[in-house]
């Protein structure tokens, strides 16, 4: 299925909700190529209603964080399940949320509450190449761009919003822009200067561990 077909399908679906608008953003780099893992957030300008926390999970599997980027509303509790047969040590020195969890294999861990907006960079003290990002936002309208660079935010009540674009490897922060969301679907082309993801050296898995 082509990207155009997907966009058409999303637009058709949005037309069914007559009282809510939909934003479809296409995030590209300076070179015009689609950018994955970009966060597109709509924050209501007019004193938005209370933010509802959601459930989220960042797993450690195959010595990687899954997923790479997680966008959560403020107050969300995030689970950190360890699906590897060895220990991980999740930490964050980000001001928005400083914490560390020593995760033992197969052992349930205490979830972490992200009650402050901001960016949180997660590392593993045991595996230097493991990284993940959590963007804590003061909104429930957000989306993460896929491999094709598309991010769709649906069921957005019509009104004025501040559109924020963020990426963990962005070279410079894109300025927020005001946007009017109606009952229809709005498509936007967004450009962000993002550094390419540099794969950090990762040793091959130890056979004994499996």
């Amino acid at each position: 299925m082509s990207a155009r077909a997907v966009v058409t399908a999303i637009l058709l679906g949005a037309c069914l909700q007559a009282t809510a608008g939909t934003l479809v953003a296409h995030v590209v780099g300076k070179d015009g190529m689609p950018v994955e893992d970009a966060a597109v957030v709509l924050e209501p300008l007019a004193g938005g209603a209370g933010v509802r926390p959601v459930k989220a999970e960042i797993a450690q599997q195959d010595r990687e964080y899954m997923p790479y980027l997680t966008i959560v509303p403020r107050g969300t509790v995030v689970e950190f399940p360890n699906r590897d047969p060895f220990k991980h040590h999740v930490y964050s020195f980000s001001p928005a949320k400083v914490f560390e969890i020593k995760l033992y294999a197969g052992k349930a861990a205490q979830p972490v509450v992200f009650d402050q907006t901001g960016e949180v960079a997660l590392g593993c003290n045991v595996h230097d190449w493991m990284e993940a990002y959590v963007l804590v936002v003061n909104s429930n309208h957000y989306a993460k761009s896929g491999t094709d660079g598309h991010a769709m935010i649906g069921a957005v009540p019509p009104g004025r919003y501040s559109l924020r674009l963020w990426h963990p490897r962005q070279r410079a922060e894109a300025p927020a822009q005001d946007i009017e969301i109606g009952a229809d679907t709005r498509a936007l082309q967004l450009v962000l200067d993002v550094a390419p993801r540099v794969a950090r050296p990762k040793p091959p898995p130890d056979a004994e561990d499996y």
């Binding site: 930490y91 020195f93 980000s94 400083v98 960079a121 997660l122 590392g123 593993c124 003290n125 230097d128 493991m130 990284e131 963990p168």
Partner: protein, 779 residues
């Protein structure tokens, strides 16, 4: 410098060749050593450079690892994330201590310094922007940087990730002497870090000693890119590598140290070569001496032989080539000695008598000391010609040999007896004065007195001795011999047995040789004149003829006697020109006299040369015709010796001359050796008795006897007899009394020019003897 000695040449050539070879070997060794050292130096520097570069890379990697390790430390990251500066500094110090880093800093991702070990104070930016840019671009960076303390640091800059970049951590290791020493140890090269700035060259760190660094800085300043630097009297092969952007590393190796083992080897080789040359030189000297010594011995022997010393035999040498040469020399010495004895015998001995000859005599005289008196005596056997004629030459020779033997017995060394020629012997008496010489003469004559027997025939031998004393009578052998001969003639005349030269008049100067060349000019210049000596007919007392005598009126020498130039004219053939002239003049003069009524017979002397000339008779005929002369008005005088040169031809010509009607006369009769048998055949009209007999006729009974018998012989053969050299009235009277036909001599008249003759004749009183009536002349 030329070497004339074989020994020197051998030594010089051998030692010189060895010297040349050794020099070449040493040069070759030196050259190849230099090449080996150069190659080894290059190789060492190459390897050292590679090691150095690798070590520096390794250091950088290690430094980076250490920094990365620090950057990954959870506590450190936590301290940075929480901006916990005291913790950060504490960690930095702890870590720096652990890995030996002197400089450690933590920077914000954008650059400002958060914490550092160097100083505390205001925040500032990381001081090495280029290093920072490089780290941002490449993740991390390593480089060599100067800090503001003027020192050079090996800096590493790594990110601190959590997992996003939260900071940079920088670590610096000082590039100091310890650093240089460590690298020097590992590379095997001296390591110096050089800073070149604003025309100044500084050594920042080095494995060299302090004083060497100063020297190195100076050398590098002088030669910025020098491959070989010399400082502190040592040469260093140098390789320069950049260290960071502002510093340079000089990697060096001492050439002198590398060459040292080769040097000592070369010195050992040189010592060996010199020792070898010394041994070789000594060996060559011995060898050359071994060769040259026999050669020198041979040379000495050859010199002795050259000097005439044949007595010493040659040394016996080793049986090699030179020994063979010595043996050949020995044979040569024998041969030369034998031949020289033979040659000396031939040269110095008279073959007939075995006595020394004239040469030996003259040479012995020459060896006499110039101031010692000596005497030379000449002995002539009396009447030897007669003995020879009477008994024949073989007997004459045997007689001479016998006389020689007898003389040899009488004369004892150091006196010397020699045979000069014919029957003439000479004696040399050393240290002899007149008395000694007189005693010797008497002894000698006494010894000769005893008769000699030859084939049972007794021969009485008598001799006359003339003695000349050195130096009174002359200083040279020739003069002394001639004067002794003159004295001998006197002794013979006087029958005194011996006479001294001092008693006889001195001789005329002999200038003959120089006269020869002048004779031709003399003939043309009319220097020759003819004098006429009257001939007295004894029985009648009248002048019947004249003898034409040639005189040479020399412009400088005055009158030259015929005896002093005629013999040479005969020898040179010039007589052929003189005689026709003489004959012409005489014929002319005779014709003139005849015209005036003076009927004189003119005698002309002919030489042997003239007599044997086949044109003579024809010439005479023409001459007589030309002057209309009666043939018998000319008389040709021929000496006995002239006849004897070719008796047959002489007889032939004389017959022709006689046929013309010319008168013929035999001159100097008795002095020559013509036999009576031959004389008998000759168509002559007169004989002239030799003046030597006439001069002594009144004192010597023997001469008187000879003259008397000769007159009788002449008359018996129908010849007219003429006596020459009559000087005294007594002689004249004696001759007249004995029946001599004609006399001639100073006693009658000296030779005179033609124009004086008529006057002389006019004054001449005819010497007519009262007792004896004049005899008729056969002519």
């Amino acid at each position: 410098m030329a070497f004339h000695s074989l020994q020197h040449r051998i030594v010089v050539v051998f030692v010189g060749l060895l010297l040349l070879v050794m020099t070449l070997v040493l040069l070759l060794v030196r050259h190849s050593d230099e090449r080996i050292v150069a190659a080894e130096m290059e190789r060492g520097l190459d390897a050292g450079s590679v090691v150095f570069t690798r070590l520096v890379e390794h250091n950088s990697a290690a430094l980076e690892s250490a920094a990365a390790l620090l950057a990954a430390d959870f506590g450190f990251r936590e301290a940075i994330a929480t901006l916990d500066r005291p913790t950060m500094r504490s960690v930095l110090r702890n870590h720096g201590l652990r890995i030996g880093a002197e400089v450690m800093m933590v920077m914000e991702p954008a650059g400002p310094v958060i914490a550092e070990t160097q100083r505390r104070g205001d925040p500032h930016r990381f001081p090495f922007p280029d290093l920072f840019d490089k780290a941002r671009a490449e993740g991390s960076s390593v480089g060599y940087q100067f800090m503001n303390d003027g020192r050079l640091y090996h800096m590493v800059l790594v990110p601190v990730l959590a997992p996003k970049l939260i900071a940079w951590v920088a670590m610096g290791f000082p590039v100091d002497d310890r650093w240089a020493a460590t690298l020097s140890q590992m590379t095997g090269l001296t390591v110096s870090v050089i800073r070149r700035e604003a025309g100044q060259t500084m050594v920042l760190a080095s494995s060299l000693e302090e004083e060497q660094r100063v020297a190195l800085a100076a050398a590098l300043a002088a030669m910025p890119d020098g491959k070989v630097l010399t400082f502190n009297r040592e040469r260093y092969q140098t390789r320069l590598l950049p260290l960071g952007s502002t510093a340079v590393v000089a990697l060096q190796r001492s050439l002198d140290a590398a060459e040292a083992p080769f040097r000592s080897m070369q010195i050992a080789l040189l010592v060996m070569a010199l020792a070898g040359i010394a041994v070789f030189a000594a060996g060559s000297v011995l060898f050359a001496r071994h060769i040259a010594s026999p050669v020198n011995q041979l040379t000495a022997a050859a010199r002795r032989i050259a000097a005439g010393d044949y007595d010493e035999p040659l040394p016996t040498l080793a049986p090699d080539e030179i020994g063979a040469l010595a043996r050949s020399f020995e044979h040569m010495r024998d041969g030369i000695a034998t031949r020289e004895r033979k040659i000396l015998k031939l040269a110095y001995e008279d073959a007939l008598t075995g006595l020394p000859n004239r040469t030996w005599f003259l040479e012995t005289f020459a060896t006499l000391p110039p101031d010692a008196p000596a005497a030379i005596a000449v002995l002539d056997i009396d009447r030897f010609a007669l003995i020879n004629n009477a008994l024949g030459h073989p007997v004459g020779d045997r007689l001479l040999a016998e006389v020689g033997a007898r003389l040899a017995r009488v004369v004892t060394a150091p006196a010397l007896v020699a045979r000069l020629w014919g029957d003439e012997f000479a004696f040399l008496l050393r240290d002899a004065d007149q008395a000694t010489a007189r005693a010797f003469a008497e002894t000698l004559l006494a010894a000769l007195h005893a008769p000699i027997s030859l084939d049972d025939q007794r021969v009485d031998v008598e001799g006359s001795l003339g003695i000349a004393l050195f130096p009174a009578d002359g200083r040279d052998a020739t003069t002394l011999l001639r004067r002794a001969e003159l004295a001998m003639s006197r002794a013979k005349c006087t029958h005194a047995g011996y006479a001294f030269a001092a008693e006889v008049n001195g001789e005329p100067p002999h200038e003959q040789l120089s006269l020869i060349g002048e004779m031709r000019a003399a003939l043309a210049g009319q220097e020759f004149v003819i004098h006429y000596q009257p001939k007295l007919h004894l029985p009648s007392g009248r002048i019947v003829g004249v003898e034409a005598l040639l005189r040479w009126q020399h412009p400088q020498r005055g009158l030259v006697a015929p005896a002093n130039f005629i013999p040479f004219a005969e020898q040179t053939g010039f007589i052929r020109e003189i005689t026709p002239w003489l004959l012409e003049r005489v014929a002319e003069q005779t014709a003139l006299w005849h015209g005036r009524g003076l009927s004189l017979v003119a005698s002309v002397n002919l030489s042997a040369h003239d007599l044997l000339n086949p044109q003579l008779p024809e010439h005479m005929r023409l001459l007589l015709g030309a002057h209309a002369l009666p043939p018998d008005s000319l008389c040709l005088e021929i000496t006995e010796s002239a006849l004897m040169e070719d008796p047959d031809l002489a007889l032939h010509h004389l017959s022709q001359l006689a046929a013309l009607g010319l008168k013929l006369s035999i001159d100097d009769y008795g002095a020559g050796q013509a036999s009576l048998a031959y004389l008998k055949l000759l168509p002559v009209h007169e004989i002239k008795i030799d003046r030597s007999f006439i001069s002594c006729v009144t004192v010597s009974p023997k001469d008187a006897a000879i003259v008397q018998s000769t007159i009788q012989l002449g008359h018996a053969l129908g010849l007219s007899v003429v006596a020459e050299g009559t000087e005294h009235a007594a002689d004249l009277a004696w001759l007249r009394q004995r029946g001599c036909d004609i006399a001639q001599g100073y006693g009658i008249a000296r030779p005179m020019p033609a124009q004086d003759l008529p006057a002389w004749l006019g004054k001449y009183t005819p010497d007519i003897p009262a007792a004896n009536p004049p005899r008729l002349l056969r002519t």
